[in-house]
């Protein structure tokens, strides 16, 4: 089975990561219960869920480290349970723990990893140098990893997951600990990797980040897939806008007059939020408010599209 599938031509639906009905429990704790997940090649897929939702457990199963109790996983059509060596050549995994050999230098760590993947020896030095440059660690390459900051170690970890040029990237909270500049770089890099045809899976709970990176999102909660949507779908479902005005009372009066449902938010500055289904409506409303002489100070989406979905899921749950 594995031979037939692994030799199948790219471009079929087998590429990318898919999980069907995957469950896993630890003792009595059901960490993952019947999750369906699909991350196509060439796209960035976000894995979103609250703490303890089973994101890391799912990623560990996708990364061939944990065996699912039930369900099937395919990495480019390969089953990591039965064909783990072949699957591992295609998986790049970045754990949420840093896991750095502290007394080794960044360069040595990458060289060791290349050897563990049995890459051709003569190409290792060049590849390692390229990756170090890619994650901007080339100036720190010969420092022991323990002197690297958390963000630098995070970037090293990313380089480590790329060492064998995997076609599937599983990144567990890759942006945590990164400064804003590195986040932008990470975003660009992940977009580029997806553009090269890799399936990129990013778990995070920094949702505003994912809005910019992800093509689609899978929401999990309490070990289950709650929703799977593309970013276009997320944008279509409408989002919440926050409006602040010089005179808040005039604003609320106008909104009531227009028959809109709104919510007064408790914040540092008094603001009003309301749900608008599409961008045209938002533009129309802003025009209307300005024309009626209300001093609008700000008018902007209160949250990203994915955050909107996330918060809605949260309320549905309750």
């Amino acid at each position: 089975m594995s031979i037939a599938e692994s030799s199948s031509v790219p471009g079929s639906g087998a590429l990318g990561v898919s999980a069907e009905g995957v469950s896993r429990r630890f003792g009595t704790v059901h960490a993952v219960e019947h999750i369906d997940f699909h991350a196509p090649a060439g796209k960035v897929t976000a894995l979103i869920g609250p703490n303890g939702a089973g994101k890391t457990t799912l990623l560990l199963m996708l990364a061939s480290l944990l065996r699912p109790d039930s369900g099937t996983i395919r990495i480019n059509g390969l089953d990591p349970v039965h064909d783990s060596a072949a699957a591992r050549l295609r998986i790049g995994w970045m754990p949420d723990t840093l896991g750095v050999w502290e007394s080794l230098t960044a360069r040595e760590i990458l060289v060791q990893m290349a050897r563990f993947y049995r890459l051709p020896k003569d190409g290792i030095a060049h590849r390692v140098a390229g990756l170090l440059e890619l994650v901007r660690l080339d100036t720190l390459a010969d420092q022991p990893a323990r002197v690297l900051s958390r963000g630098q170690q995070q970037r090293l970890s990313l380089a480590r997951s790329l060492i064998h040029d995997p076609s599937v990237l599983l990144l567990d909270e890759p942006a945590s600990g990164l400064d804003p500049g590195s986040r932008v770089e990470l975003r660009n890099l992940l977009r580029r990797l997806a553009g090269e045809g890799k399936a990129v899976v990013v778990s995070s709970h920094v949702l505003s980040e994912l809005d910019e990176i992800a093509d689609g999102a899978v929401f999990v909660s309490q070990g289950r897939t709650v929703k799977q949507q593309t970013l276009e779908e997320a944008a279509l479902q409408g989002r919440r806008y926050a409006i602040t005005a010089l005179d808040n009372e005039a604003l609320t009066a106008k909104l009531s007059e227009l028959g809109l449902e709104y919510r007064v938010e408790a914040g540092r500055r008094p603001s009003v939020t309301l749900l608008l289904t599409h961008d045209d409506g938002a533009a129309a409303l802003l025009g209307e408010l300005v024309r009626s002489g209300i001093g609008v100070v700000s008018f902007a989406p209160a949250a990203g599209a994915l955050e909107e979905t996330y918060m809605n899921l949260d309320t549905e749950k309750r």
């Binding site: 480290l65 349970v81 502290e102 563990f116 440059e133 990797l193």
Partner: protein
């Protein structure tokens, strides 16, 4: 980073296939290569930690002090003896070397048993706690390669300690009374014992969740081998009561008690019994130590002491049985049982000194290796991925 994206290829062109993973390359060479890579990774870490060198320095210093004190003690006792005895009573075998060698050997083994667990018993779960074990498991390394690599690295680190103590054993050799064979065999056996303890430590560290726990358990396992084997032998022997047919010894001169291990340096009578056996064979109560000797064999001291080739003591006149040789003799007489050690068992005078015909150490070493192999196998099972079961209280990453 975005400005270098054009120049640095993220993809290395066509996917780089693993060397030797699928056909072509020699599978054994590939397997050993993986082990070597893990060892290199481990040794780089160990060699860069200052604590390791400090331990090595302390070790060297302590053994140097012990050697020096033993040498002083020897000289002092020889002074005392020379003033009371004629020179002819001193045997050439009583060189200072044998005493220094024995004390240093016992000391090195003691320290080795203390140090080896510390070097090995957090190999796997320490990495697990640091999040670096999963990094290894996600690569093409197999559980066996990881386990053997960790074991070899721990063992090599322990062997470094042995290497620093080797000069003192050699010093003992040059002080007389010993052959290079003594030193080589004892170093070899010490190395094997270190491997056993390292294997136990690595196996337990793969099984236990927390490094502290596995280190303590490994120390307890070592204590069970060293002390527990003696206790269980002692208690077990009480349950192994039996009988032996024997008649009565009639002394030609003085009747000698069986060899006592602690009569170090005291000249004894020739090894041949100085009595004859006469009278009818009667059943005597005796402890069948031969049934319990395997417990004694588990003791690392017994294994090391028993493996060292001693000169044939029969008919050499006066000789001294040192501590280490005494351990070997004691263990062998336990193995021989009352049939060989009871006075006049089966009506035959039994020699006090057992010849090297029935060594106990292969049995002991075999049992130790079985225990080690069992723990390593269990550890290997727990390293397999995708993992179905995790040690309680652990995360895989």
């Amino acid at each position: 980073m975005s400005d270098v994206t054009g120049t640095v290829p993220v993809s290395a062109g066509p996917p780089a296939g693993p060397q030797g993973a699928t056909g072509g390359g020699n599978a054994v060479v590939g397997y050993l290569g993986g082990i070597r890579d893990v060892v290199v990774l481990e040794m780089k870490q160990r060699l860069r930690s200052r604590g390791w060198y400090i331990m090595l320095g302390i070790w060297f210093f302590v053994i140097a002090v012990v050697t020096w004190l033993t040498w002083l003690a020897w000289n002092a006792s020889m002074e005392a003896r020379r003033s009371t005895m004629p020179p002819s009573a001193l045997s050439p075998q009583d060189g200072a070397g044998s005493m220094i060698f024995e004390v240093v050997l016992a000391f090195v083994l003691l320290f080795a048993l203390l140090v080896a667990p510390a070097l090995s018993a957090n190999a796997i779960n320490g990495d697990r706690a640091g999040g670096t074990l999963a990094i290894l498991q996600i690569t093409l390394l197999t559980p066996g390669q990881i386990l053997w690599g960790k074991f070899c690295a721990g063992w090599l680190a322990a062997l470094a300690f042995l290497a620093t103590s080797a000069p003192f054993l050699v010093f003992g050799m040059f002080q007389g009374g010993l052959t290079p064979g003594h030193v080589v065999v004892s170093l070899l056996m010490l190395a094997v014992e270190l491997a056993v303890v390292c294997g136990i430590g690595v196996g337990i560290s793969a099984l236990a969740g927390r490094p502290l726990f596995s280190i303590v358990v490994t120390y307890l396992a070592v204590a069970a081998l060293v002390v527990g084997s003696l206790i269980s032998f002692g208690l077990g022997s009480q349950l192994a009561q039996g009988t032996v047919l024997a008649n009565s010894p009639v002394g030609r001169g003085v009747l000698y008690a069986p060899v006592q291990p602690n009569q170090q340096g005291q000249p004894l009578e020739p090894a041949q019994p100085a009595y004859t056996c006469e009278g009818p064979l009667v059943e005597h109560q005796a402890i069948r130590t031969d049934r319990m000797a395997w417990m004694l064999a588990l003791n690392p001291y017994v294994v090391v002491a028993d493996a060292i080739p001693y000169p044939d003591r029969n008919g050499t006149g006066f000789y001294s049985v040192g501590m280490i040789e005494g351990i070997s003799q004691g263990a062998r007489s336990a193995l021989a049982g009352p049939e060989r050690t009871y006075l006049c068992a089966n009506g035959v005078p039994q020699p006090q000194y057992l010849k090297q015909t029935t060594p106990l150490w292969p049995l002991g070493l075999g049992l130790q290796l079985v225990l080690t192999a069992l723990l390593m196998w269990l550890g290997w099972r727990s390293l397999r991925t995708p993992a179905s079961r995790l040690a309680s209280g652990t995360r895989i990453a």
